[in-house]
Amino acid sequence: MGLADIGIKFVLIVIIFAISLVVAMYSTYAERKIAAFFQDRIGPNRAGPFGILQPLADGAKMFLKEEIIPTNASGFLFIAGPSIAILTACIGSAVIPWGQKLTIGTHVVDLQVTDINVGILYIFGVVSLGVYGVMIGGWASNNKYSLLGAIRAASQNISYEISMGLSIIALLMMTGTLSLREIAEQQHGFWSHGWFTWNVFKQPLGFLIFIVCAFAETNRTPFDLPECETELVGGYHTEYSSMKLGFYLFAEYINMFVSGAVMATLYFGGYNFPFMHHLGLSENWVTILGMLALFAKIFFFIFFFMWVRWTVPRFRYDQLMDLGWKTLIPLAIANIIITGLVITFLNR
């Protein structure tokens, strides 16, 4: 690997990092606008035209608020909590293929930071690490409500990780690889051999289980029990103020972006779009259009997250556990068996 390649990778990492932060920033704006739309209000409209500068104003407000560390909180861990939350949210995007290869002059740029051959498992590792931010922050606050929020987050994440893993196994049985790049390549185009190439049409049940688990893992309504304000004041971030609170809230939006990207790559064809090689365009244009297609899919998923948030009420905790253990896990196991039978007898 030459110096130029390292430089290109570095630029790519910085661009992806910047994009995920900007998307997360404007997700907060979108969330408020969409909430306003669902509740027949106008939403933020003071900062700039259509309130477009609202995220910047929010950010400035977060930084300028008073920084409070409670007397009985354990100091280092209190700061480590939100830092871990935002760190784990940001590193998930490293294995996602954002597009095909781009040719600039003599250099061929691979639009993926790294194509490790355990890509999906890496995503799982990062997701399972994400709960530590909430747990450590909740415990370090030395507050009963925070602790309850942290404990809820832990048991919720563990429960839904199992069904998420099981739903992925059925997908892996069909694709035969753990690399996200290869999975995206297998869904090339839209239609071949008399069936859709996108995995959502081959694994509809698996996708349903996966998206429910994605809601639970990102702590979004209807599964946002760790910060359930009707019971727990503010949940795990009751004691947080200023930018430390901002990090927790921001990490949730980055998680939404990354999980949208993962769902688009695994089930909705990633950067592939219909007729991509019948338009008569050059490779570079196809790559750029593919990137735009991927982002369109991601934005759809982010919209879907918000749509559900402002439509479906929050679950009760026992309902959440029942859904995870008694519904999703048996369904996921049945999905694996059906997939195995189909692969064995229909040989597809």
Binding site: V118, G125, A154
Partner: protein
């Protein structure tokens, strides 16, 4: 090689902190860091699958449950049991004897030959899966039954009245 020594130093350093930390929650957090250094060891040995499984299962699941339990029972410095001086004295003597035994037995041992792997890509998912499901199919399946029976047993123990369950 220097990476190995650095990571090995970190593993030992964090595992000493695990047993010397006063607060049980801090111990668990150091244990998480220790397991993280183990993951790096696996990656250095090109055992990617083992590395990521160690990451997900140990760091991501088992230690979350450890932390969960500790937070629920809320142990802290004040509730830690105080040992009498006699017990501490006995502990020091016992530990010293153990150290002497280990050093003596290490001196008696010859230096082993380093094992050279035939196939450096053995740790990749595909190769590992092929070996597990061809050569070692029976032990693999038997261990899965063992885990299943342990799970059923745990559920049985957790339900107080078998009639309610």
């Amino acid at each position: 090689m220097s990476t190995f020594y650095f990571i090995a130093f970190l593993s030992i350093f964090f595992s000493i902190l695990v047993i010397s930390a006063k607060n049980p929650v801090h111990s668990i957090l150091y244990l998480i860091l220790t397991f993280f250094t183990f993951t790096i060891h696996y990656i250095l040995m090109n055992a990617q699958f083992l590395a990521i499984v160690n990451f997900i299962v140990y760091m991501g699941a088992i230690l979350v449950l450890f932390l969960y339990t500790l937070m629920l029972i809320n142990l802290n410095k004040e509730s830690e049991p105080r040992k009498s001086n006699l017990v501490k004295f006995a502990g020091v003597i016992g530990g010293g004897c153990f150290l002497v035994t280990i050093v003596a037995s290490l001196k008696a041992l010859g230096v082993s030959h380093p094992v050279v792997l035939q196939d450096p890509n053995l740790g990749l998912v595909k190769n590992l899966g092929k070996i597990l499901f061809n050569e070692y199919l029976l032990p693999f399946e038997v261990s899965s039954i063992l885990l299943l029976s342990a799970m059923v047993g745990a559920v049985l123990l957790a339900t107080k009245d078998p009639k309610i369950a």
